[in-house]
Symmetry: C2
Subunit: 157 residues, 2 copies
DNA sequence: ATATTAGTTTGTAATGATTATTATTAATAA
DNA sequence: TTATTAATAATAATCATTACAAACTAATAT
């Protein structure tokens, strides 16, 4: 934990930004809830628990800054809210999402699914790929199970 | 053109919705500007040229309806605006985007890049894939050329 | 120590996209 | 024709996000 904070502090410094108490509090929340795909509002409320004097605009600015420095990914599942994910240490951008269209759950998967696909894009379209966003929409395991359950119920009334 | 409108009309009817004049005008705009990734506002302004009495809320409702019926794809490039693309006839969901981080241009590519990747997701995560969104962020051909141009300028002042 | 400066934060106002509401109109059924 | 329902227009309301002005902080120069 402290180690990662230290690292982020250095990243900020190398761009002549400072790790102010507000920024540190924000980063700590992101670290604690690493897999949660928090919205700015979520982050704000969580930071407020420990640092009640922080302002919403500060949280937005901090998240924007972290996103510019590629410390967090700003992602969008199409529900009108941006979500912010701390990049995992060592992780490249092999970071995809499974969004369930039944229950709305979001699972995160980590796998280099697109290595050769990026090659194809570079070769066939002359587009220099820096990053990608890949989201699958479908039915999660739980909802599949629930659907089968329901069918059984109907069959044996 | 008329053929596709007729088809959409049937799709609406099969869900007991009607192809009202306003809805038809909206669909016509989407057909005319098929590759343009229009925002709701864009669509509204274009529809207004031919049907000045239409309301913005109607356009929103129509686009939402078409999106629910999978006649259009509602997509989001993270710039705070939803964009609406008519699904191409016969096209499956092999429909990806190349977003340039320099000039902001969006190119659309059509290619089944993810056939086997979807298989992997289904097998390894038990997630039943219905659809996906794949966006590449990087430098388009034009901006690459421009960058090289600039370097030449610097080298020979 | 004091003044200066740049960077940061706060609280709030403003903006822009989208959604909800309400009254009206058109289409359909009885 | 009358009653019912669906769809629309105009506008108000909402929600996420950004802009702004004033106050504050920390570092640096005097």
């Amino acid at each position: 934990m402290e180690h990662r904070i230290e690292k982020i502090k250095k990243q900020l410094h190398s761009h002549s930004y400072k790790l102010t108490p507000q920024r540190e509090a924000t980063v700590r929340v992101l670290l604690e809830r690493e897999d949660d795909h928090l919205s700015a509002e979520d982050v704000y409320l969580l930071v407020k628990e420990k640092s009640p004097e922080i302002g919403l605009a500060t949280v937005y600015r901090t998240l924007e800054l972290l996103s510019e420095l590629k410390i967090v990914d700003k992602i969008n599942f199409g529900d009108g809210v941006s979500r912010y994910d701390l990049r995992k240490e060592g992780a490249k951008h092999f970071h995809h999402h499974l969004v369930c269209i039944e229950c709305g759950s979001v699972e995160e998967i980590e796998n280099d699914l697109l290595g050769e696909v990026e090659q194809i894009v570079e070769n066939d379209w002359g587009f220099e790929v820096k990053d990608h966003r890949l989201t699958f929409h479908g039915i999660c395991r739980q909802c599949q199970a629930a659907a089968i359950e329901e069918d059984v119920q109907k069959a044996t009334p």
